[in-house]
């Protein structure tokens, strides 16, 4: 028997016998599977809900063009077997959040390695591995940057020990009244798509927001408002979709309402424009009377990278509305379209509508290429970053097999070396956070909300699922009677969904016990009643840093342990974000999926969640590391540069 590539015999033996789980068969997953078998791992299970897309082929090297549309996990397995037929690989074309993959399933493995691109799944696997007490190796990449870390219950932080900033959202009035950046217009355009063609969502209003606190109406303005727009009454009484239907989705009428009438209405809210440049309404007829500006021949650039003129986008708007209208008709009564960045008319519509709005608000317009990045939450990705990170994962894996957890590290991959010449920066792992709301022995949180205005559904979806990462929560009130508020069994507590929490006697100081049995996770939720939450804020977790600001605990010196230049090819939401990002935490590259990839996903709520996230966060979601500066491993001094 050939001694495996330089490893000690005992280690080599344990490699052949141990069973490992790889969650994800994409960019990191393909590289990881290859490294695992070449290193001598024999028993590997891999799971991925996704199918192969042509845009994967620049880096997911186990796939070829002929595999487009097929299951990633399945094809990855087949490709690996070709160069290592003796490997024992099981592939699952499924979501790891499927209840079939319970704690018992996880206990089959000596090690779990994530190769994921979204936080919900990471949270879930984190909890499953804590419940099963199996070591977990976490990782993420975006562009040139990457990171690997090891999670071991009781010895290290878990994935959720440090609160991570939630996806960036914009206030309703910014989207509806006072956009100042292209991303605001793009989010507006996506909302508009849903209002017109898709599932209408009360959180995705596009019409002017009269409740904007900046506006401060006085009665004298009322008359001005009324004459500013013929459709004024309609804005208030009729939904956008109903109005559009009533006009037969006439593109010209739509255009004039959105980019002329509604803008003129905004202009009457003159307080908004005292310190801002006022928007300039567009008129369909006027636009087409102007000399058409020379449209740049795209020549040597990508067709999608052209930036058109106003006429161009008006035409694109017209065409895409007509196409989408036909799609709706074809689907029949009560049909709804789902926005998909890879569906050309849907992407055209958002490109056109966003650009027209940018033009109205005096912003430089963006090419379809750039709009797609932002609207579709596309994270640029290359093979080499994933190759490096996957190599590091296996090196950490070897240490975990030996239970050498004190040798394990968090390792950051930078774009450029830091002042200590390090391109790869290993840092000691942190111990668990004793107050972690996931891995502490009796996790507890305090949530501030308005018990008279929060419905049970919102508690379930926005708080327990989205914020606290539960998949199928069961909730009872600690009222001495153990009243069941939410049951994970379908239909059991459906009648409660639209009731307010106060209807159940919940008030300031009430406690709820929330369980997710699949994750073997119990969370005690203390409620504080408040009537003074900020506009658009439904709840606050007490003790969290505010969503949009960076956590104040990061010391100034920490920022100087430079992780190199932030990749600036990816348009970000604002220049402020670019300056503040240094350490890249595990990156979520939650790309808007094309509709085909959703087939394998059982949760429709999952789908809805994905839309919401992608709407509001267009950046490569680089998270700040919120704790102290990483300590250099090879010297006793904490690195201060």
């Amino acid at each position: 028997i050939i001694i495996r590539v330089g490893l000690r015999k005992e280690l080599a033996d344990s490699l052949s016998s141990c069973r490992v789980l790889v969650v994800g068969a994409g960019g990191i997953g393909c590289e990881l599977l290859k490294n695992l078998v070449l290193t001598g791992f024999k028993n590997i299970e891999v799971i991925d809900l996704d199918t192969i897309d042509v845009s994967n082929l620049n880096r997911q090297f186990l796939f070829q063009k002929k595999h487009v549309g097929k299951s990633k996990a399945q094809v990855a397995k087949e490709s690996v077997l070709r160069f290592c037929p003796s490997a024992n690989i099981t592939a699952y074309h499924d979501s790891i959040m499927n209840p079939d993959y319970n704690v018992e399933f996880f206990r089959n493995f000596q090690l779990v390695m994530n190769a994921l691109d979204n936080r919900a799944a990471r949270n879930h696997v984190n909890r499953m591995c804590l419940a099963a007490d199996i070591p977990l190796i976490e990782s993420g990449t975006a562009g040139y940057l990457g990171q690997v870390t090891v999670i071991k219950k009781g010895q290290t932080e878990c994935y959720e020990c440090q609160p991570k900033p939630t996806q960036k959202t914009f206030p309703g009035c910014t989207i509806r009244n006072t956009p100042s950046e292209p991303i605001h217009c793009i989010v507006w355009a996506k909302y508009l798509f849903n209002q017109l063609f898709g599932e209408e969502d009360a959180d995705q209003e596009v019409s002017p927001d009269t409740a904007d606190p900046e506006v401060a109406w006085n009665p004298a303005d009322a008359a001005a408002r009324a004459t500013a727009s013929n459709k004024d009454g309609d804005i208030k009484r009729v939904s956008t979709k109903e109005w559009a239907r009533s006009t037969g989705y006439d593109p010209v009428k739509l255009f004039n309402k959105l980019f002329k009438d509604d803008i003129m209405y905004l202009l009457t809210m003159d307080k908004l424009w005292k310190k801002r440049k006022a928007p300039l309404p567009l008129d369909w007829t006027e636009i087409h009377q102007l000399e058409s500006s020379q449209e740049e021949a795209f020549g040597t650039g990508l067709k999608d990278q052209q930036v058109l003129g106003v006429q161009g986008y008006a035409q694109l708007f017209h065409r895409s509305v007509e196409t989408l209208r036909s799609q709706l008709i074809e689907k029949g009564e009560g049909a709804e379209l789902v926005w998909d960045k890879d569906d050309p008319p849907a992407m055209d519509f958002v490109t056109a509508a966003a650009n027209l709005r940018m033009n109205v608000f005096s912003m430089n317009m963006k090419s379809r290429f750039d709009v797609k990045s932002m609207a579709g939450n596309i994270i640029p990705a290359i093979a080499t970053t994933n190759a490096v990170i996957a190599g590091l994962i296996v090196l950490e894996a070897l240490k975990t097999l030996n239970s050498d957890f004190d040798q394990c590290r968090t390792i950051f991959l930078n774009k450029q070396p830091n002042p200590r010449k390090k391109l790869l920066v290993p840092c000691a792992l942190d111990p668990p956070n004793p107050n972690c709301y996931v891995c502490a022995s009796k996790p507890e949180v305090t949530v501030k909300l308005n018990v008279h205005k929060t419905i049970v559904q919102a508690l379930q979806d926005k708080i327990l699922k989205e914020k606290f990462g539960m998949v199928a929560p069961d909730v009872q009130i600690e009222d001495g009677k153990g009243t069941i508020l939410i049951s994970s069994e379908e239909g059991e507590t459906e009648a409660n969904n639209n009731k307010f929490l106060s209807d159940f006697g919940i008030r300031n100081g009430s406690r709820l016990q929330a369980d997710d049995f699949l994750q073997d996770y119990t969370l005690l939720v203390n409620l504080i009643h408040s009537e003074e939450l900020e506009k658009d804020v439904e709840f606050e977790v007490v003790g969290d840093a505010p969503d949009k600001a960076p956590a104040p605990s990061v010391p100034e010196e920490g920022k100087n342990i430079a992780n190199g230049n932030k990749d600036s090819a990816q348009p970000s939401t604002s220049s402020k974000a670019a300056a503040e990002d240094d350490d890249v935490l595990i990156v979520d590259s939650d790309e808007e999926p094309s509709s085909s990839t959703m087939e394998a996903s059982p949760e429709s709520s999952n789908r809805k969640r994905k839309h919401h996230d992608a709407d509001t966060d267009a950046t490569a979601s680089k998270r700040k590391r919120l704790d102290q500066q990483p300590a250099d491993d090879d010297e006793d001094i904490i690195a201060l540069d």
Partner: protein
């Protein structure tokens, strides 16, 4: 709209729809211009073991014009199990030839070729047909020779190897390597809150960027390996010098003396020799043996697959950067220590 759908040739300025779709995620990172330069580049890759296969994969996926795989060695069970391009039934075939089919399948838009000659037998002008040359598993003398004759012709030279848990890469991009960096545009003018009614000018997108041109120079491999450690300046920099540099010197000497790398089969004999060479090499440099403690021998045998992946990733990206002339190259060594998980960039040679 007339998009050329034919396969790109030479310095074609048109990107086909097929390329735009396949390279989308990387064009969004390094830009269309960089992709075009890659698409016009020819690369020679010497050595198709673990590290070579990783570099081959990375360059082919990136979309270079052509990649020549050169290796004179034959496939053995050991070499086959070290990489993922060689089919299971290829024992006895030439290593490069056996890797060809899978390599080509990684990206049909790249011209992948095979050369089964020994690199030592190649005449000077063989190398001149390439834009970049990457040498793995080569002797020090050969690497110095190739570096010397390529640098003068603006051919980018890269060297790399993996020894157990350790790996390195070296680059010589010539006396004047030009590249661009993308920097955020400085937004002049304050935000709305400060300006009064005057703040009605056209908004500059805070995310707009600008390309800045830069030039950087590299020294030869010979200079980099023949640093004089006896002078005071060099001595004082020793504390911050990675021991991997000296490890590399030792391993290159071993390779020259034995015509091969340390083998697990001859562990006892090779370890002894390594320690001896370590003493000799450091003594010749006027340095103490303590710079490279004895433990090194346990961890420099064979190619560890994950170390090949890390070094191959960094090396592959450096080649992409150099060919696309975008972003600051690492200058001029990268050392990876797989035990510590540390990766260091350092410069050796005349400043």
């Amino acid at each position: 709209l007339a998009l050329a759908l034919s396969r790109p040739r030479g310095e074609d300025n048109i990107i086909s729809e097929e390329e735009a779709a396949q390279y989308d995620r990387q064009i969004r990172l390094w830009g269309l211009d960089a992709q075009k330069r890659l698409r016009g580049s020819r690369v020679l890759l010497v050595g198709l073991r673990g590290l070579g296969a990783e570099v081959a994969k990375n360059l082919i996926l990136a979309g270079v014009k052509g990649l020549t795989l050169l290796d004179h060695e034959q496939v053995t069970e050991e070499s086959r199990r070290a990489q993922f391009l060689i089919p299971v039934d290829a024992d006895g075939q030439n290593q490069a030839q056996a890797s060809l089919e899978r390599a080509q399948l990684l990206n049909p838009m790249v011209e992948v070729k095979v050369d089964t000659d020994a690199v030592e037998s190649k005449l000077d002008d063989f190398f001149f047909r390439f834009d970049a040359v990457c040498l793995t598993r080569c002797s020090k003398d050969l690497m110095v020779r190739v570096d010397q004759l390529c640098a003068s012709r603006n051919i980018k030279v890269f060297c790399g190897d993996v020894y157990g848990y350790h790996g390195y890469m070296f680059s010589d991009l010539g006396q004047e390597h030009h590249y661009v960096e993308e920097k955020p545009k400085v937004v002049k003018g304050s935000n709305e809150a400060n300006d009064g009614p005057e703040a009605k000018k056209r908004k500059v997108d805070p995310n707009e960027t600008t390309m800045v041109k830069k030039t950087i120079s590299f020294c030869s491999l010979k200079e980099a390996l023949e640093v004089d450690w006896t002078n005071e300046k060099a001595k004082s920099s020793l504390k911050r010098t990675p021991a991997d540099y000296f490890l590399l010197q030792v391993l290159l000497k071993f390779r020259t003396d034995k015509g091969r790398d340390p083998q697990p089969d001859s562990f006892a004999e090779d370890s002894q020799l390594l320690l001896q060479i370590r003493d000799d090499v450091l003594e010749t440099m006027g340095l103490s043996s303590e710079l490279l403690p004895n433990t090194f021998v346990s961890y420099c045998f064979s190619e560890m697959a994950p170390v090949c992946a890390v070094v191959g990733g960094v090396l592959g990206q450096e080649i992409v950067k150099a060919l696309s002339q975008r972003d600051a190259p690492h200058r001029n060594f990268f050392f990876f220590d797989g035990l510590k998980g540390s990766g260091v960039v350092d410069y050796f040679g005349s400043k």
